[in-house]
């Protein structure tokens, strides 16, 4: 058994410093994220939970570099985001596979874009990279599906392929935007186990956005609760359970009381949110 809080390299992978995000003009300005600071160190698995519209995805987009902060600074691996920084892998709520590529080429895409894999791409795409993709697919139960096109696969299988794509280039930072949200319960639990094993093996820093408290408590080593209007972090707690965790753990009293406490925190946040106009 391995403890989540042991022997991590020092330094923050993600560092949000007094970040604010607003949309719209001067008249109908919407604050998506009030002044927020968040630090995530190397190898942490952090889950962001909260009601919809609380700015979970906004934080993820800031870190991914697809959204710019209105105020404040976002540092990833010690550098301001946008420049060449950490090796990022991302999985979205939808599989977002490219319909014109088969599963193998879809999963291989990051190797074509991300250095240092990029420079050997044309030389290794049919040998080393191909094997790498096949291994990755086999790991999530998609062995032999490399030649299929996305539309020939079920939603759950597409989502597995999408996870493979997020992980194929050994990212040091993994951003997960509710990637298990649209799946049935059994597929979801199966992918949680795969996800946990991957994290234990490679120890990337993970930021997971989810509205599933069980998922957060099962996977994460730290859970941040957010509140909407304006979006902000209202609670930040460590998940003490040892790894590897099994689905059975979710029926134990400690686990249940943790999810119960988080649930109450979010309910309170929702109530506060409804009270404000």
């Amino acid at each position: 058994m391995m403890d989540a809080s042991v022997a991590l390299p020092v330094g923050n992978v993600i560092d949000l410093e007094k970040v604010r995000v607003t949309f719209g003009g001067a008249k109908n300005q919407v604050t998506a994220l009030a002044e927020t600071s968040l630090r995530i160190s190397h190898g942490e698995f952090v889950a962001l939970v909260g009601p919809s519209g609380c700015g979970k995805s906004t934080i993820l987009k800031l870190v991914a570099g697809t959204l710019k902060a209105t105020e404040g600074h976002v540092f990833v691996a010690g550098r301001e985001v946008g420049a060449e920084s950490a090796r990022v892998g991302m999985a979205f709520q939808n599989p977002t596979l490219l319909p014109w590529l088969n599963i193998r080429d879809n999963v291989m895409m990051p190797l074509k874009i991300v250095p240092p894999f990029k420079k050997d791409f044309s030389r290794k795409r049919r040998t080393e990279y191909r094997d790498r993709v096949e291994q990755s697919l086999a790991r999530v139960g998609l062995a032999g599906f490399g030649d299929k096109f996305p539309w020939q696969l079920s939603g759950g299988m597409q989502q597995r392929a999408s996870l493979c794509r997020a992980l194929i280039h050994d990212p040091t930072l993994l951003l997960l935007d509710e990637p298990f949200g649209a799946l049935d319960q059994f597929t979801r639990e199966e992918l949680w186990e795969i996800m946990q094993q991957l994290w234990i093996d490679k120890r990337p820093t993970v930021l997971l956005v989810t509205h599933d408290l069980k998922e957060a408590a099962y996977l994460a080593s730290r859970i941040a609760v957010m509140q909407a209007r304006p979006g902000r972090i209202v609670d930040d707690s460590v998940v003490p359970f040892s790894r590897p965790r099994t689905i059975e753990i979710s029926f134990q009293p400690d686990f249940v009381s943790l999810t119960q406490r988080l649930r109450e925190r979010i309910m309170a946040a929702r109530a506060a949110q409804e009270a404000t106009p």
């Binding site: 991302m90 977002t96 490219l98 088969n102 080429d105 096109f149």
Partner: protein
Amino acid sequence: MNETTRRRILSIVCILSFFVGWEVLCLIFNVSDIVLPRPSQILITLWTRFPAIWPHAVQTLYTTLVGFALGIIIGVLLGILIGSSRLAYDVAYPLLVGFSSIPKVAVVPIFVLWFGAGTVPAVLTAMIMCIFPIVVNVATGLAATEPELQDVMRTLRATKWEILWNIGLPRTMPYFFASLKVAATLAFVGAVISETVASNRGIGNLMMIASSSFDVPLVFAGLFILAALGVALYAGFSLIEGRVTGWAVRSETFTGGG
């Protein structure tokens, strides 16, 4: 397979019966071949005067294809520019719409003034005829690219060029091929317009001379040649389209990729 064969046979029968009906109606009403020649007369004209018609057909095909190729190159480049830049869109769109509204016959004399009569104006007219649909479709395709697909690339820190090459252009292919089928037929129209006005070669010129000497079967023979060339080009691009953009229609036989 049985179903497709039946459909094919049915369509061939319908097309043939159109020509048979034409033939029969001309015979019943005793229509003079100066007004409307019968299909059989047109075929005979095609056959007997083939050596005279052939060089003109080759000339028209040549000018059309060169103009079409130039049109594709310029159309795609303009489409990419307009589809990926807000400013280029605002500037170029009104210009393009205005330009495409001009009757192309009016432009031919200008080309003749600049380049002299003959091949060059025909090539240029074919080109400008097919630029517009290509530009509009490529620009639309790029603009319609799902932002989520671009986000996938942006989180990987892909450059703008890499996003265009790996997401934008493949996504645009169905739009591009749809425009090619329209543009291919328009290119013929452009080339023939120009040949009619200012050339001593090509099907357009042939038909011009034939009609001035009331050789109506030869005029119709020219029309048949044009139609056949147009259909051939269209079919060619449909074939390529099926191979390249089968993913868009989820064709089970599509095995592209790499």
